[in-house]
Symmetry: C2
Subunit: 318 residues, 2 copies
């Protein structure tokens, strides 16, 4: 029997560790969306989480779990997305440095956001090789601990705390749905939901333009994501070695949606639920509204995580 | 001693009446806004209320308070704003007709929204005289009960339930802030907040382009709003005969803000709190961020109602 990077006990320990630091986000509903989905949908609003995304949970869990000696040297990661901001704030809350490696092609607004949370930004070339080289160099020089964005047990357990809260608020969910990019969030959802109730079904939602999880699951073996193309910029990476086993064994199905479905779902949530969500969060909503998901039997109540709300408000997406 | 149209007992009775029908909306916070405001700010998110605005509270209270005999004949109002949608849904939930008189100049999307909630729309000329004439004619013909948008004791008491919930969640608020148009919301806030804690200070927030409440308070007597000009389209009316006494006697001050302040506050809330709010809600936020409000002594914790989130998403406001 395979072992997994996190289980319910790890998620519960994470929940204790992050209590009072991360927001307990509300679970909201919409009669309009219930009608469109053909069932009762419960939205876990991680767009209302600090730093605007669930990533703050995993980063906080990882940072708080460090010993004082480890923590004193700081943390390091390479990311231009929500994990970068999350780690910067989690480190600042503990009073330790966060070294964030960002490609020189990252938008100035993202660099400014990380610096706004106190992160120390190092710019590198926009290749995975140079990002890793730069991060490793910083780790070697400073002794900072590398906290990757998803492929880490403490990060996965931290993300699972969102599922724990959701199932505390709505204990009789038949299923939960989480968007999948690197897989940290959906893995945490597996650990929490399956641990609390093995009958609770876990679904992943993925953009057609970055469908490595769907292809991996169909092939029965890990497939890389190459040349991703989607507005859901949080979901462009490949699954990791720790997250793939969750998707392989515990996720029932990966629901794939188009860019048009993502845009429509985003607008629906902005318009009817009055929540600003980013495209990656629209992917989960689009999955629940898809014909494929609507056709599923036995799902009376479903929980969906609105994973983030970090968008540019200089333009609209539709 | 003057009497007022609603008091704490009326608000508590309204809360019993609307329980389980209106959403208990979350109270959210933002460290960024706390920093900008110079104090702790608690946002009562009525943009997340059913129909997208607090108006559903007052409409529901008024509709549920009707006797079965009164209710059977339906309700009628003239409004092209959030009250129209709120009354239509409140009536549908009770299973009675709602006759909504709208000027022929009202946007098609607003007419469609009212009809989407089951309202029976009658179009009239865009003058107050023709709106009142048409509504009275429908009332005479059908026996429907007129439920006005703000100048009614049951509507005021219903709006006060938002303040009751806010003060249950954060009992030690030093002050509350509500936008003022017709004055139903701020009157309900006075009834609830002053009733619970006479030391709790109540402030109104108003656009400079529709500042009848500020002018009335300065003059010590009711002044009409003529030729209003503001993007805060929910705040363009004059105070009513029932709401003016609250503003005169119980509101400490009316804070007036410019269109630019409203736009900036709106964008701030969309961007940092991930909440879609309408311009009228931006008025309350702008007031709390104003130099005038920041200079107030003795306000450590302030509650602000985000009154609604009904905006067109075809364009941005900035």
């Amino acid at each position: 029997m395979p072992t997994y990077a996190a289980d319910l006990a790890a998620v519960r320990a994470a929940a204790e560790r992050v209590r009072g630091v991360v927001h307990r986000t509300p679970v909201l509903t919409s009669e309009t969306i219930d009608r469109l989905a053909g069932r009762a949908v419960f939205f876990k609003c991680e767009n209302l989480q600090k730093t605007g995304a669930f990533k703050y949970r995993g980063a906080t869990n990882a940072v708080r779990k460090l010993t004082d000696a480890e923590a004193a040297r700081g943390v390091v990661t390479h990311s231009s997305g929500n994990h970068a901001q999350a780690l910067a704030l989690a480190a600042r809350v503990r009073g330790i440095p966060a070294y964030i490696v960002m490609p020189r092609t990252a938008p100035a607004v993202k660099k400014a956001a990380v610096e706004g949370y106190g992160g120390i930004v190092t710019v590198c070339e926009p290749t995975l090789a140079d990002r890793e080289r730069t991060a490793n160099e910083i780790a070697a020089r400073t002794g900072a601990v590398l906290i990757p964005p998803f492929d880490h047990p403490d990060v996965i357990a931290g993300q699972g705390t969102a599922a724990l809260e959701l199932l505390e608020d709505v204990p009789d969910l038949d299923a939960v749905v989480a968007p999948v990019g690197g897989g940290g969030l959906v893995s945490g959802f597996c650990a929490a939901a399956k641990g609390l109730n093995p009958a609770c079904r876990v679904f992943a939602a993925e953009p057609l333009g970055a469908d490595d999880a769907a292809r991996s699951k169909a092939a029965g073996e890990w497939q890389p994501q190459t040349a991703p193309n989607s507005i859901a910029d949080g979901l462009l990476t490949s699954l990791g070695t720790l997250t793939w086993p969750f998707v392989r064994d515990q996720v029932e199905r990966v629901v794939v949606v188009t860019e048009e479905q993502i845009r429509q779902a985003m607008r629906l949530v902005w318009e009817r639920m009055k929540l600003v969500i980013e495209p990656s969060a629209g992917v989960g909503v689009a999955a629940v509204l898809s014909d494929e998901f609507r056709a599923l039997a036995g799902v009376r109540k479903v929980g969906v995580v609105l994973c983030g709300g970090n968008v540019s408000l200089d333009k609209l997406y539709w």
